[in-house]
């Protein structure tokens, strides 16, 4: 059985689900950020697979993947800076204990 679009989409869905579980169920804020990076990578695989199999000559999916990488890099920089700022103020990065804005 040759490799087709479905294989890449299922792989992308599995990686996205693992990232979703990590982002919802983890307490360490850095692990949550790592899970979000995992989800963004899974989306990129789906984008490139669509670009390769459905419009092989247009490359639009790859352009979108480049923009996702740019946004992910900005998100990682700002997110880790926020985590370090919280750690400096509260001495913890446990997401269940950072509840200042919870009512």
């Amino acid at each position: 059985m040759s490799i087709g679009l479905e294989h890449y989409l299922i792989l992308s869905a599995i990686l996205f689900s693992i990232g979703l579980y990590g982002a919802l169920a983890k307490r360490n804020a850095i692990i949550i950020l790592m899970s979000i990076e995992l989800m963004l990578n899974a989306v990129n695989i789906a984008m490139v697979a669509f670009s390769r199999y459905i419009v092989p000559l247009l490359l639009t999916g790859q352009v979108f993947a480049i923009f996702i990488i740019v946004v992910a890099a900005a998100e990682a920089a700002v997110g880790l800076a926020i985590i370090l700022a919280i750690y400096r103020g509260r001495e913890t990065i446990d997401a269940t204990k950072i509840d200042l804005m919870k009512w």
């Binding site: 996205f16 990076e37 490359l59 480049i66 990488i69």
Partner: protein
């Protein structure tokens, strides 16, 4: 044939590495597992004949973002606590499996309009024409530059000592 072996190998290693990110107790080992997963995604791009994106993936994710994450782990002292789960673990697992089932069902039952044309092979020139050429994505490129500048300034302002 070689493509199939490469895909299955990369898929198995990638899923195991992604599981390592969420299941390993040690935060630092989870970060190293994430680096392995990024490398596998670069390999997946190669099998999809996206050569430029594979290089960008290695440079930005494996090179820059993983260093940022490991630096943040080093600077916070929650490492010895390990990677704990909160009390939403079972509902989160349920939601993730439900999502996987829904997406898998939709993927298998959709008739994709797959085109048989072979892809452009050195993608760098074609991507550059797409990004900077006539009728391309030049406005998003400029906005991305502003976004990166704002992100760098924001990160500096957030971590600066008062």
């Amino acid at each position: 044939m070689g493509l199939e072996i490469a895909f299955w190998l990369l898929a198995v290693v990638g899923i195991l590495a992604a599981l390592g990110v969420v299941l390993l107790r040690n935060v630092f080992r989870a970060a190293l597992s994430l680096v392995l997963c990024f490398l596998v995604v670069a390999g997946i791009y190669v099998t999809l004949s996206a050569d430029f994106l594979a290089v960008v993936q290695v440079l930005i994710y494996v090179g820059a973002i993983s260093v940022l994450i490991i630096l943040a782990i080093m600077l916070t002292r929650d490492v010895q606590l390990g990677s704990l789960s909160n009390k939403l673990r079972i509902p989160a697992l349920f939601v993730a499996i439900l999502f996987l089932g829904a997406v898998g069902f939709a993927t298998i039952n959709t008739l994709w309009p797959v085109s048989g044309v072979s892809p452009v092979m050195p993608t760098t020139e074609a991507l550059a024409l797409k990004l900077f050429g006539e009728g391309g994505f030049i406005l998003p490129v400029e906005i991305a530059a502003v976004l990166l500048l704002a992100a760098i300034l924001g990160a500096i302002v957030l971590v600066r000592e008062k």
